[in-house]
């Protein structure tokens, strides 16, 4: 487990930001992943007093504070109504209720973890992150960036009309996914997001218009084949690259047909 010399509850984002400029300091999210490291942290910066633990819903968007727990996502009626339960489906099998009470949206998104169900599901949406210095940028752009010393303040999900389906396969019900798969239709645009490849989630858009004429069992299969071809996979202890590629095809096809209401 990591060692920590000093613990500070930031009184402002500015204070947190200043502290975070030192490489030896770290912002703590749920502490679930970070504590497993073996390194040493000079100052652990806690954002828990900054009121970032709420989900604000307006006509246009959901504004999800960095300290919102995965359990809050799971239980949020508005978010699950908008996503057709996709958010709940994405988080409900993550370890257990206690874990989800602790794991934060900020920690999950900031970490850009390969196994992340959370990053996978939100990449299927019209989503943005608000960075303290960097301002609001698309989540997809953020996911591609390297970690820096900025602070993730909020996740913003625009209520762009759309539909979402989330599915994953796990060797054991509360394990990391072998493949995580979100498929969405946003303002007429179809995309699939594949996580746990096992590398970081990738967004694959329907560039060839395979679903342009509507979702049928055949077009769904075609789209799934396209997504599987475009998504590099690798092997780890949970599965081989070949099986992952196979699963991407199966899960994407199923999620797409479900999206099409077939």
């Amino acid at each position: 487990m990591i060692t920590i010399q000093k613990y500070v509850r930031a009184k402002s984002l500015e204070e947190a930001y200043q502290l975070n400029q030192s490489k030896r300091n770290r912002i703590v999210g749920g502490m679930l992943w970070m504590r497993l490291g073996r390194g040493s942290v000079a100052t652990a910066i806690d954002l828990c007093d900054l009121g970032l633990d709420t989900i604000e819903e307006t006509e246009e968007q959901f504004s999800i504070g960095a300290m919102v727990s995965l359990r809050q996502l799971e239980l949020h009626e508005g978010l699950n109504a908008y996503t057709g339960g996709a958010v709940k489906n994405a988080v409900k099998d993550i370890v257990g209720v206690q874990f989800r009470n602790m794991a934060t949206v900020g920690g999950s998104i900031w970490g850009r973890f390969g196994f992340s169900d959370v990053l996978t599901v939100f990449l299927a949406m019209d989503a943005y992150v608000e960075l303290y210095k960097g301002g609001v940028i698309p989540l997809e752009q953020f996911a591609a960036r390297k970690k820096d010393t900025d602070i993730l303040v909020r996740l913003i999900v625009k209520k762009t009309p759309g539909a979402f389906v989330y599915t994953a396969l796990r060797n054991q019900r509360t394990d990391f996914p072998v493949i995580a798969c979100a498929v969405s239709q946003l303002g007429g645009e179809y995309r699939a997001v594949i996580g746990a490849r096992p590398a970081k989630a990738m967004v694959i858009r329907d560039e060839q218009g395979l679903l342009a004429q509507g979702i049928t069992p055949d077009s769904a299969e075609a789209f799934a084949g396209f997504v599987a071809e475009r998504t590099p996979t690798d092997s780890n202890v949970r599965a081989s690259a070949a099986y992952r590629s196979h699963l991407i095809r199966v899960l994407t096809a199923r999620a797409t047909t479900e999206l099409g209401g077939i």
């Binding site: 396969l169 060797n171 054991q172 509360t174 202890v237 081989s240 196979h246 899960l251």
Partner: protein, 764 residues
């Protein structure tokens, strides 16, 4: 079947400790031992096979709070085994407390004693070790006669002859056969020749290995350990530390699960050594990672089965060869392997004309294996039951019917089971009962559920033993208290199984008293009568019989005291309902009066100790059936229902027997579908945490249903046999069967992950 009416036996009493446990009272090693004990930590080798050339602890010793650090130069040089087995142990003496030659990634290199965990961990990082890294034996197929020897040392010593030699990396070897196997095989209509592979599954008991040591008020070493084997641990420590047994006391409080892991003294020697060296109390608590990489898991086995049968389904011959991987040390290696044949082949006593069972157990530079519930039978039964299922499918026969034709039945002599007779055997009734309860006729046909999903069913039988015959010894002391209540003292170890409770039920039955009037104490080498310990499914059967005997003796003693009080012959009185009555005069004396009398001018003990051992080990039997839903495209297998019927003789406490069964089934489901063991290039298990080693959650096991078919075992207490181990044996073959029914593919290696299922179909 003999069926008697009992007042207390056969009833589902709550466990004696249940409310303490459920309300979170401090009852485990870490709760009941002083907080300021020294923290003991082990520096472990990163290499699978290496010699410690230099070890520099100077900088580490400067860490504030570090009390001492020990290396191979500091420890006694007598080799020992940490397997909890009766002397002379079948396990070789191949360990030192710290050895210059480290033999697996995780082997102990140095012992650190510090005031705090933080100081110990800091010191661990500062110990500088220079290793001469040697080539390692990581593939157990290549271990035998490999030029690289895991144990090249000259002082390697087997206390028993088990056919092993360290010069060949051979822990044990053997052969048992009856009849002309090759001739019968040649005469069979069908011969199946199949090879199976099971892995080094972890017990994953919730409380990791932990032990505390102190010097008691006499300056003796007092160990409080989470152990199934207090007496064996005392003997092991005595040899390892070179001190007499009279200077050692080993005690267990409540145990947070064992499943055989704690039938090996995995961590006890470390705090014992530290306390002897420093004179201070010390405690070691393994992290989950240590429990996973330096614990005592199941023996990995490869089992080749040749089965010969006639077209009508008569199983005529079984030929097994087991290659068992003992890892870096030999604990339980020579014995676990035996069960892979001796507790699988006899299931088909009904028809077998010949059998052969050969085995080799080899050393490798991997984590040492040990005892795990099922103890080799689990591996063997996966192989044999899978082959029988394949036979049935090949012949187009119902696999339950083929078993009806061939299975062992009551009264049969079992040549492959040491010639024992199945005195109590309801296996046939278990099959009929389970078939009916499960709805086999409806669930056996494969059903297409649409969208690539199919439902199917599988079946398996199992057996185990009820002790190690002619070896295990159980004892019990029963004492009368002044108010007519009783104390039961045992050396067996309740590890959550409920043995304290079921043995108290036996006392209450025998002494004709209330269950609540029996207090249980165990286990402590100073205070308990000798017991081999709780393993080999033996506590109900062996220690239970000792309880029965002790109560018989105590009754006689009580009657003798009462007879003096009533001034009559002991034969003229009987003990019933808390008093002794003269059957002629109807004069009575209360137990209270008797026990007070026992304390005044009395030479007849108001207590009795009895010891029991058994020349036979009556097998319990079981049938398990599973219904799964299998997704042919993702390969995901979902357990819908698991139903089982068990013959454990007479269940002493049906609720506890049921929970034992359910727990064993779910462990078996874990091994079959999700618990994996893979190694990195150093031979270190990748699944070194619960993040990677995935045991079933309550979402992974479907719905369970367990019922019993009684038989009456004449040599057991109240007709009981055993329950603890057999229950883990049916899931692997039954689930593999259901998967084969659904997909047409027989999986012969565990675990059967979604990937294996899906890719076996893609490749076709």
């Amino acid at each position: 079947m003999e069926q008697r009416e009992y007042k207390v036996v056969g009833k589902s009493f709550r466990k004696k400790d249940s409310m303490q446990l459920l309300l979170g009272k401090p009852v485990y090693v870490d709760d009941v031992t002083p907080k300021d004990a020294l923290v003991v930590k082990i520096l472990r080798s990163p290499h699978a096979n290496a010699i410690v050339q230099e070890i520099n602890t100077k900088a580490a010793r400067f860490v504030p709070g570090v009390v001492d650090i020990y290396t191979w130069e500091d420890v006694p040089q007598t080799r020992f085994a940490i397997a909890g087995q009766t002397y002379p142990e079948p396990s070789p003496y191949d360990r030192l407390i710290l050895d210059r030659h480290v033999r697996f990634a995780g082997d102990a290199v140095a012992i650190i004693a510090a005031e705090t965990e933080k100081a110990a961990l800091k010191a661990m990082k500062l110990i500088k070790v220079k290793y001469e890294v040697l080539e390692a034996v990581l593939d157990y197929h290549t271990a035998l006669d490999n030029p690289i020897l895991v144990h090249p040392e000259e002082d390697w010593e087997p206390p028993c002859e088990v056919g092993g030699t360290n010069k060949r990396n051979l822990v044990a070897s053997g052969l048992d056969a009856e009849g002309d196997v090759e001739a019968v095989l040649a005469d069979c209509d069908i011969v199946l020749d199949r090879t199976f592979h099971t892995k080094a599954f972890q017990q994953a008991m919730m409380e990791p290995f932990t032990a505390y040591a102190e010097l008691d008020r006499y300056g003796r070493l007092h160990l409080i350990s989470s152990t199934q084997i207090v007496f064996h641990t005392r003997r092991i420590l005595s040899r390892a530390l070179g001190i007499p047994k009279s200077r050692i006391r080993v005690e267990k409080p409540r145990i947070g699960g064992g499943f055989g892991a704690k039938q090996t003294a995995v961590c006890d020697v470390y705090p014992a050594f530290v306390t002897l060296k420093t004179g201070r109390p010390s405690r070691i608590t393994y992290t989950r990672e240590e429990a996973q990489i330096a614990g005592s898991p199941r023996h990995e086995m490869e089992i080749r089965v040749r089965l010969g049968a006639n077209r009508d389904g008569k199983i005529r011959v079984l030929d097994l060869y087991t290659l068992s991987n003992s890892g870096a040390y030999g604990e339980h290696g020579p014995t676990t392997v035996g069960l892979s044949g001796h507790k699988s082949i006899p299931l088909y006593t009904g028809s077998l004309e010949a059998y052969r069972f050969g085995y080799d157990v080899v050393y490798t530079n991997l984590q040492a294996a040990g005892a795990y519930r099922g103890y080799g039978a689990t591996q063997g039964i996966f192989a044999v039951e899978s082959v029988v299922n394949e036979l049935a499918e090949t012949l187009g026969m119902d696999p339950t019917v083929i078993r009806d034709q061939n299975m062992v039945k009551e009264g049969m002599v079992m040549p492959a089971y040491y010639g024992e007779t199945a005195n109590a055997c309801a296996l046939d009734r278990c099959m009929a009962h389970c078939r009916q309860m499960f709805g086999w006729e409806e669930k056996y046909p494969v059903r297409d559920m649409g969208n690539g999903k199919v439902r199917s069913a599988g079946v398996a039988m199992a057996m185990q033993g009820s002790c190690i015959s002619n070896v295990d010894v159980g004892s019990a002391t029963v004492k009368l208290s002044e108010d007519g209540t009783y104390n039961l003292m045992i050396g067996a170890a309740d590890m959550g199984t409920g043995c304290d409770t079921i043995l108290a039920q036996m006392v209450a039955e025998m002494m004709d008293c209330r269950f609540d009037d029996v207090a249980v104490f165990g286990a402590d080498t100073d205070a308990s009568p000798y017991d081999s310990g709780s393993y080999a499914s033996s506590t109900t059967y062996i220690t239970g019989k000792a309880v029965e005997k002790a109560c018989t003796q105590l009754k006689a003693n009580i009657c003798a005291i009462a007879a003096e009080m009533l001034d009559c012959a002991p034969e003229a009185v009987v003990l019933e309902s808390g008093r002794v009555c003269n059957i002629d005069t109807h004069q009575t004396v209360s137990l209270t009066d008797i026990s007070y009398k026992a304390q005044v001018g009395n030479c007849i003990p108001a207590e009795a100790t009895a010891t029991h051992s058994s020349p036979v080990s009556p097998p319990p039997y079981m049938v398990g059936m599973v219904e799964i839903e299998l997704d042919k495209r993702t390969g995901l297998v979902t357990i819908l229902d698991y139903m089982a019927v068990v013959d454990c003789g007479i269940p002493i406490n049906p609720a506890l027997a049921r929970i034992q069964t359910e727990g064993g089934i779910v462990q078996g489901i874990g091994h079959t579908l999700m618990e994996n063991v893979t190694y990195d290039s150093h031979g270190r298990p990748v699944e070194s945490s619960f993040m990677q080693y995935k045991i079933p959650t309550r979402l992974d096991m479907g719905t369970l249903k367990v019922e019993f078919e009684h038989s009456y075992e004449p040599t057991g207490p109240f007709g009981a046999k055993s329950i603890g181990e057999i229950v883990i044996n049916t899931p692997a073959p039954a689930i593999a069967h259901a998967i084969a029914r659904a997909t047409g593919v027989w999986h012969r290696e565990l675990p059967i992950t979604p990937e294996k299922v899906a890719m076996s179909l893609v490749e076709e």
